[in-house]
């Protein structure tokens, strides 16, 4: 059984999370494409809270003692995957920043001594 308190907490935190995402999108701090994960994560939490039968059935299927434990495990697993993908993205961004810096630096250096004589079509 999932306690009513847990369900209220789930819905409450999903709601707050969703509001936060929306605010960030409005302030152009978050692109829609990047926010999709959090939109669906919030929706999933709300669905679990409204239909506790889902985690209850899944918990017994996976032989996990309590549905609340099941919810925890699923959320943790999702977060691990999320963090991993973020790590990869950050690594890729670091490489790109390095490339940009190098390009810009060499470009600035060459511009100071280069004469611009290319004719454009």
């Amino acid at each position: 059984m999932i306690s009513t308190l847990t369900r209220i907490l789930l819905i409450g935190s999903a709601f707050i999370g969703f509001l936060y995402v929306v605010t960030q999108i409005r302030n152009s701090n978050f692109t829609i494409r990047d926010s999709i994960f959090w939109v669906f994560f919030s929706i999933a939490l709300v669905i679990i809270a409204i239909f506790p039968i889902i985690p209850m059935r899944l918990a017994s299927f996976f032989k996990i003692e309590s549905p609340t434990n099941f919810i925890f495990i699923v959320i943790i697993a999702v977060m691990i995957v999320r963090i991993y993908r973020l790590s990869v993205a950050v690594s890729s961004l670091n490489t790109k920043i390095k490339e940009l810096t190098q390009t810009l630096a060499i470009q600035d250096y060459e511009t100071s001594s280069k004469s611009d004589s290319k004719k454009k079509r």
Partner: protein
């Protein structure tokens, strides 16, 4: 009215198509300014452009279509263009339809879409299923029928150029078109034939297409309610 148009040609790994496409523009449609924006291609797209002395802005890093288009919009803003046209580097878009599209601009429209399905019927295929869904959603929510919402051949008016150039959530995608409609932009379609891609590879895979549909539909259905109102100024 001044209708100085800038054709934006985002190009990612289009070395096999770019010469054909741009030569056609230069030779047969010299009345339009154009600029290629190389999106960090890892083939020799940039080299080919430079060898032919094309107008090309080179992005050293791949940004994707949205970022690349925004680069073009920033350039257009800086150089005071009256309108920008999104034009594919793979040769699918035909420049002969630019003129009828431009005429709509003089009528006061903000977004003019080169649409394959104004006069012709949309085929019943898996590929068009996504297009049908988006058309349906836009009609449902905004009472405007966009028959070819995923067409990449679009002209944007001057008052939208500033917004495109500065707002990261304004992308050349159908959900942005819907958002613009919701903010009072006038959108219309002009019949345009398009060709199939001849060479090179589209960057869309099945997973990417599904993710694309998911993002667009979520944006139109859910996020649209929360987006801020845009101030579309009359900049004449």
């Amino acid at each position: 009215m001044n209708n100085k148009l800038l054709i934006l040609i985002p190009a990612y790994n289009e070395s096999e198509n770019i010469v054909r496409v741009v030569d056609n523009l230069i030779n047969n449609y010299p009345q339009y300014d154009y600029v290629i924006i190389n999106d960090g291609s890892n083939d020799n797209t940039l080299k080919v452009c430079q060898e032919h002395n094309y107008n090309v802005i080179n992005q050293p890093i791949n940004l994707g279509l949205a970022g690349t288009f925004q680069t073009g919009a920033r350039y257009a803003l800086k150089n005071n263009y009256d309108a920008i046209l999104q034009f594919d580097a793979d040769g699918q878009h035909r420049p002969e339809y630019i003129e009828p599209m431009l005429n709509k601009l003089s009528e006061g429209y903000d977004i003019i879409i080169g649409s394959r399905f104004v006069e012709e019927k949309k085929p019943l295929s898996a590929r068009m299923a996504g297009s049908r869904l988006i058309t349906f959603l836009i009609k449902l929510l905004y009472r405007v029928e966009i028959k070819d919402p995923t067409s990449g051949m679009r002209i944007y008016s001057k008052r939208l150029i500033l917004i495109i150039a500065t707002n990261p959530n304004i992308t050349p995608e159908p959900d942005t078109v819907a958002y613009m409609i919701n903010n009072g932009a006038k959108v219309t379609e002009v019949q345009a034939k398009m060709d199939e891609r001849i060479a090179g590879q589209s960057y869309l895979t099945i997973t990417k297409s599904m993710l694309y549909m998911l993002t667009v539909c979520t944006s139109i259905l859910i996020l649209a309610w929360f987006r801020p109102k845009l101030k579309l100024e009359d900049s004449k």
